[in-house]
Amino acid sequence: MSHQDAGPEGNEPTTPTEPEDSAENPPDATKQVAAGAGHPKGAETALQLLNAVLEGSSAVVTFLAIVLAIVIGGLLIAFTSPTVLHAWSHLFSAPGAAFSRAWDVASSAYSAMFEGAIVNPHTVSAAFHGGSIAAIFNPLSETAVNATPLILAGLAVALAFRAGMFNIGATGQFIGGAMIAGWIGFAVHLPMIIHVVVAVIGGFVGGSIVGGFVGTLKARTGAHEVIVTIMTNYVMEYLILFLLGLAVFRAPGLPNPVSPPVANNAMLPHLAGATLRINAGFLVALAAAAGVSWFLNRTTVGFELRTVGANASAARSAGMSPERTWIIVMVICGGLAGLAGASVILGTDFALTPQIYGTYGIDAITVALLGRGTPFGVVLAALLYGTLDAGSVTMQAQTQIPVDIATVIQALIVLFVASPPFVREVFHLRRRRRVEEGAQVLAKGWSA
């Protein structure tokens, strides 16, 4: 597809409607009048800002997409709740009750979500009366804990996007990382600090092996990475199931296929006291995001990567080797997803289970899309996801609304973010003048 803004210059992929930018564009009729009249500078900036909103700049579209998804999620909550459905059956005798019930159910669900993910007012007031201070920060800690693997796995997908590859294989790479990190954690005995560092590096290596396999196949045989990654996901899922049946990986004496717990030395240290689950994995994730950002924008290989992503043929003409780039990219991406696995096994779960991979791999794709393929965007998107995940657990505990609503909302957000024209139509925003589509990352169908 021809429209991607991620040129080799390394800007963020979505720049077109910065305010200065629209001033350079051929202005439309109203704007021309306004600019021609020579308004003071402040008014002009305000006008440009207004324009950005009315046209739906990418930030505005993202915001509106989130709003839209939350509204639809609220409607879903309201109209599947038994009490609300009951109230609807009395619609004609008590019309107000149906609507107020629906509002109550949805708003209590969302406020429970807020309490679980950001801050719970009860813990604040309790702290003034001798309660624990740490409890105030528990929701934020949970959000960060949930976001950690998503940042890492999201980077794995985002980096591949920038190289024009679509990495659906974060699940398999996650498992590869978790397996090796976990094995080092429980089977090897090393001194403090060294142990956890070795285990984390092991996680990176485990993921890179899986990712590198995919990259090599693509480079050597032209096998499409989408198919190969989907398949390696399943192979790895069965592989971990198989390994957990073996004596090497199986905790002795337990009926379930679970590995022994990782040694204390191999656990990622807590950042804020033992009661809060937030751990050094979060810092690893942030460092990885910074590292990927540096790698993409400040290194030769990163430049080659973006060039190959923008146009592989042109990159080849310029003397770069797309094949080599694909392999390097997939090794790094695999390693990042492997780090996600390590962060889970060494930070929160502490033992391998057949379901250790959860839904991180798939969520990583949507996180990368929401973050528009940039490391900073991925961090923000992962934090949003972490918020929804942490909040939905509290929501289920308080209101019995199933946690899966978070999945629905996340899917809707990404669906809308990926289709700015749809959001513009819903909110009656003006059509953009430029051919764009910020959210289109670089995947190109089967043939490329």
């Binding site: 599947t80 196949l217 032209g222 198919i227 609503i405 809707l412 995947a443 169908g445 043939s447």
Partner: protein
């Protein structure tokens, strides 16, 4: 919309013919040295008669060692033949089929050697059962992608079909209504796919993945919210009973496998035939393929490109929805969270494996169904291979196929690219 020039194939440093031949030789060596030499003592016995069948077929008893070694030697010879000569299309395929069959037979001999007899008929029956959603899902993929829309949302279509099938059949007490609604549910997700892919031009791979997540979240949510508390009313459907086709159903071996199953198998037969004939023997299919290969040319001669795509995507969703319904009201009855368990992705692989053709996709789906059935049946006879490896088999096979075979056959040229009328 100008396509980004495809990276040229000549650069790929990989000789496909040699690689395939090498694989044949490898399989032959595995036949001989693993399945032949390492087989347990005792014969492998295959039974071909179900209890209560009118005609009984004698059991087949094979000595694993000699059989596997002979088949292995044959594979190696064929491998060298394949490498040495440029065979025509049909002998080429025959060679492939013979090698694969030899591998399967020696594998089965090895797994059953010295154990309780292997019930061949029930193995094949569960193969067919496991294949139904895969076949229908893969056909959905063919219908969409031949018109130029990538359909990764097969998984979601199966899932919604399974959900709607179980819930409607349970609450209205009508299996046929359940089947119908399952199909409609698949079609509804396909409408979303079509609108966002065609009208809003969202990247179709992304879109498919997102829709799968959406379907998984939605059905999971509704399952916890509604189906768990009202299990009896909403999630206890009957299941279709097998229909035995007169005369054909009484043929020994083949009858119980092919002609004594639920309505879903017959629907699958019909769908395969219809899609194959439709796509390759009718004017309708020619137009669909034209839209998928070169939409601008198709538009120039007056074919309505966008309409064709909408119609095909929705048609595909309806077909996959039936496949989804087969997961609930065709076999286990009630719906469970993520009951499709990745079968949509296997169907996608089957379609690619089958080179975007209905017949090829069906063959691949049967192969995948067979390995699932093997995992189930061989587990019960205590075969010396962990069932996890058998379950891995379809995925490994797909990777090999994608790396080895599929490269030369290409997706429809405009697959995944939105069409903007200029």
């Amino acid at each position: 919309m100008t396509a980004v020039p495809v990276v040229t194939r000549e650069r790929v440093t990989f000789d496909r013919q040699r690689a395939i031949a090498g694989m044949f030789v490898m399989l032959g060596l595995v036949d001989i040295f693993v399945f032949g030499f390492l087989a347990d003592k005792g014969d492998a016995v295959f039974t071909f008669t179900l209890t209560g069948a009118a005609v009984s077929v004698p059991n087949l008893s094979l000595a694993p060692g000699p059989v596997s070694e002979a088949l292995g030697a044959l594979s190696i010879v064929l491998g060298f033949l394949y490498a040495g000569r440029n065979l025509a299309k049909i002998p080429k395929r025959l060679v492939g089929i013979v090698v694969m069959l030899g591998f399967v037979v020696s594998f089965l001999c090895w797994s059953d050697a010295g154990r309780i007899p292997l019930p061949f008929v029930s193995l094949m029956q569960s193969t067919m059962l496991a294949s139904i959603p895969l076949v229908l899902g893969a056909l959905s993929g063919c219908l969409c992608e031949r018109s130029g829309v990538i359909n990764i949302a097969i998984e979601g279509q199966l899932l919604l079909g399974a959900f709607a099938g179980a819930v409607i059949a349970s609450s209205f007490g009508s299996l046929w209504l359940g089947l119908f609604s399952g199909s409609i549910a698949g079609g509804l997700l396909a409408i979303l796919l079509a609108v966002f892919a065609i009208r809003y031009m969202v990247d179709q791979i992304i879109l498919g993945v997102v829709l799968n997540v959406f379907a998984s979240g939605l059905t999971g949510y509704l399952y916890d919210q509604a189906l768990v508390p009202y299990q009896n009313r909403l999630n206890s459907p009957n299941t279709f009973t097998p229909i035995k086709i007169p005369v054909l159903g009484d043929i020994p071996i083949i009858g119980p496998i092919l002609f004594d199953s639920t309505i879903f198998l017959y629907i699958a037969y019909a769908a395969v035939a219809l899609v194959h004939i439709g796509l390759f023997k009718t004017r309708w299919g020619l137009r669909v393929r034209a839209v998928g290969e070169h939409p601008t040319a198709a538009d120039t001669v007056g074919i309505r490109v966008l309409f064709t795509r909408y119609r095909n995507v929705v048609l595909g969703g309806l077909v996959a929805g039936i496949g989804g319904a087969s997961l609930t009201i065709g076999s286990v009855g009630s719906f469970g969270k993520d009951i499709s368990s990745g079968q949509g992705y296997i169907a996608l692989a089957a379609m690619i494996f089958g080179r975007w053709t209905p017949l090829g996709a069906t063959g691949a789906a049967l192969l995948f169904g067979f390995s699932v059935a093997c995992a189930n049946v061989l587990g019960t006879i205590g075969a010396p291979i962990p069932s996890d490896f058998l379950l891995m088999l379809p995925y490994v096979a797909t990777i090999i196929a994608v790396a080895g075979f599929v490269g030369r056959s290409r997706a429809p040229k405009a697959d995944g690219q939105p069409y903007i009328k200029s």
